[in-house]
Symmetry: C2
Subunit: 224 residues, 2 copies
């Protein structure tokens, strides 16, 4: 009657395949991943991939959409809170408060990037950054543009810059670079710090370092 139906057997199959796809596509890449490996990991028959998603490529895009949804579940509340405080044109907010919001945003990203699930997501997203496919559009529109958009907005207020300018975007990018390195240089960080996984201690250490760096960068006197 409506689009809201009770979960059917097919829905369970779709879900199992998508979870397996995020894991296996992320690890091996699209071309190196076989439909048999996907089906086996999901515990379903190989022919069901074509039935439910049309093709291996269809399953891949479903996996990308799944990642976007999971990431947005985590960051949308944070982004909404910042947006609400910034308001339509609440340029009366002091820069110290904007810095605090920026640090909150980065803290959220540290937590996200140190979560176990993010290992798999990061692998897939990194592949799309190096060789964008149709999936990158969905990642960019769903996650990246929203996050950097807020960050440039905050930075614009803090340092009295045009949020759309090349310089502001570049500054935002270098700030996030400090956090994203947690996943991009994964193996090297394990070697240098001995960290095998991120517990409360490691997360706090990273957040504290990021706080010091970002405060120093954004609160320094104007130069040049």
């Amino acid at each position: 009657m409506t689009t809201e139906t009770t979960p059917s057997r097919g829905d369970a199959t779709r879900e199992a395949l998508i979870r397996a796809a995020v894991e296996i596509f992320g690890r091996d890449g699209f071309n190196a991943t076989g439909t048999r490996a996907l089906a086996e990991a999901a515990g379903v028959n190989q022919a069901l991939i074509a039935y439910h998603f049309g093709s291996k490529a269809g399953l891949y895009l479903a996996a990308i959409d799944y990642i976007v949804e999971r990431v947005r579940e985590r960051i949308d509340p944070l982004l909404a809170a910042i947006n609400a405080e910034l308001g339509d044109d609440g340029s009366s907010i002091p820069r110290e408060r904007c810095l605090a919001l920026m640090l909150q945003l980065l803290d959220g990203f540290v937590v996200l990037l140190t979560s176990d699930e993010s290992v798999t997501w990061a692998r897939l997203i990194l592949k799309e950054q190096q060789d964008p496919s149709e999936g990158f559009e969905r990642l960019y529109d769903g996650v990246m543009s929203r996050v950097i958009g807020i960050a440039t907005h905050l930075i614009g207020r803090i340092r009295d810059l045009d949020p759309e300018s090349e310089a502001t975007n570049l500054l935002a990018i270098t700030l996030f670079g400090q956090v994203l390195i947690l996943r991009t240089a994964r193996a090297t960080i394990e070697r240098r710090t001995g960290w095998q996984q991120f517990t409360q201690h490691e997360i706090a250490a990273v957040q504290s370092q990021i706080h010091r760096n970002v405060t120093a960068i954004l609160m320094q006197e104007n130069t040049e």
Copy 2:
């Protein structure tokens, strides 16, 4: 007579295969890359991969070694110059000079990471960071450990920290994160800045931003 011989036909085949391997393994990953694609890109016969390198895996490791050599050609002079100035225990060097050396090191990395060749290298290295194979050992020992080793040494002098400590390594990692994001978030940066490639203007913009950030981070008053 000696190991120094004139280049033979086989040497040209080896070189062509390695160049093709860096390109194609980097783009598609090890498992998704076919020996026929490698041979065709190199303009040689498919059977010559097994003849010269034993297997597809042998060619892959030769490609990793090739990248390590090319990167070291570029960074070893810089590292040697810094090491020479630091000396055996020249703790008399002022921290301002150490900051200048740190900025030189990061400038060199900006130039390296904005070069056309580095697009391909970065793809392969990123894959090894996410899923380390035997190749990662060679990358880490040949490049990463040397670079971060120097950086933690410099940071130790500038901020009076133990170069081996977790905190110093974490600080060094966040500094390099600002630069490495140039390649890791490749597609997003193109979207936000409109930069299609890195010319003199883009390189200067990045270096200038990194200078401001790193100076602010390393020269701030001690906190906490």
